[in-house]
Symmetry: C2
Subunit: 196 residues, 2 copies
């Protein structure tokens, strides 16, 4: 089994997380889903939903790391200790996927330098300002750069997750998941309807 | 402020809930989001996510009630005490919205009798078997019948929630939310791409 480790923080955006959760959660024979935060315990989303998490000190595998976005990222990019730990986790992970402004957190670690990446088009200027050494792609639903995947805003995370599944397990597997959750997959990473 | 009361249970489907959460959560000047379960405390989704809830004994307002679907519904339709409480809550709510197999729970109360409703097309035969006095609509993304709204599977909940917002606050408000969360709204309730 491959671990999918979701790293959350106060004021994360609910759908950033749970859209991707839903898609990985459909492959119960391949993936185990785990929820972490820096210190563990209850973490509250921007939509007032509190979820239980394990502390990252308990995260010992090196599988897939997923980072949502949301208002909480504005504070975290300035938290050097948090960013340092994220860098450590990201270096050892087999893959790192970010949704929305989660890309700003990953960009802050420096690990996206000289790589293509994208983020929410509603917050794009701010995300770009966090690290100008990233090759930010304005017109992209999602971007895969080696082991790093970054998606556009909120619901784009679902499209990216299906794209990642297609890359790993074949397109038919991704299409079956989309069908089973009755989701119209925007399957072209270059077709971005939400640029300003 | 209008309360949006999400009623969850063990083995609910994550995206059934959080897709709709995301949409109501965008109108922070109109809606307050609350999470309930029968007894309160931690409730675990089918995707291994544990969330904190209040007991329904604390639910005293008569605003909007939202019921997700998921594997847990199979057990709950047989729990007459749970269904009785759901009926009580639904009668007093201003609106009741169900996602996916959440429609089976509402149907079991009898409140959908002689009304049009829909549900997940992957579980449609089972849902229909729960109550044959409902006018089940096979080809529908979602259905609004007076104060009751029912949606098709999982991600269809987002389309229904946007449709509900459009009915309540106008189409432009719904379109702005979809744009802000970079979601391609399937805005025609009669266009169902997922019938068998």
């Amino acid at each position: 089994m491959i671990n999918v480790n979701f790293l959350v923080f106060d004021d994360f955006e609910s759908l950033d997380l749970f859209g991707v959760v839903e898609i990985f959660g459909r492959l119960t024979n391949i993936y185990t889903l785990n929820y972490y935060s820096m210190k563990g315990g209850l973490v509250k989303s921007s939509q007032n939903a509190e979820m239980m998490t394990q502390p990252i000190a308990h995260l010992t595998n090196e599988d897939i790391l997923i980072i949502p976005g949301g208002k909480g990222t504005r504070k975290l990019v300035k938290d050097s200790e948090w960013i340092k730990k994220l860098k450590h986790l990201s270096l050892s992970a087999s893959n790192v996927l970010t949704i929305c402004t989660g890309a700003a957190l990953l960009a802050k670690t420096g690990l996206l330098n000289d790589k293509k990446a994208t983020s929410n088009k509603r917050a794009f200027d701010w995300v770009k300002s966090v690290n100008k050494s990233v090759f930010w792609q304005e017109k992209a639903r999602w971007v895969g750069s080696g082991k790093y995947y970054t998606s556009s805003g909120v619901s784009a995370g679902m499209d990216m997750a299906l794209g990642f599944i297609a890359d790993q397990h074949g397109r038919k597997t991704a299409e079956k998941i989309a069908f089973d959750i009755e989701y119209v997959w925007n399957d072209d990473p270059n077709n971005d309807l939400f640029i300003s």
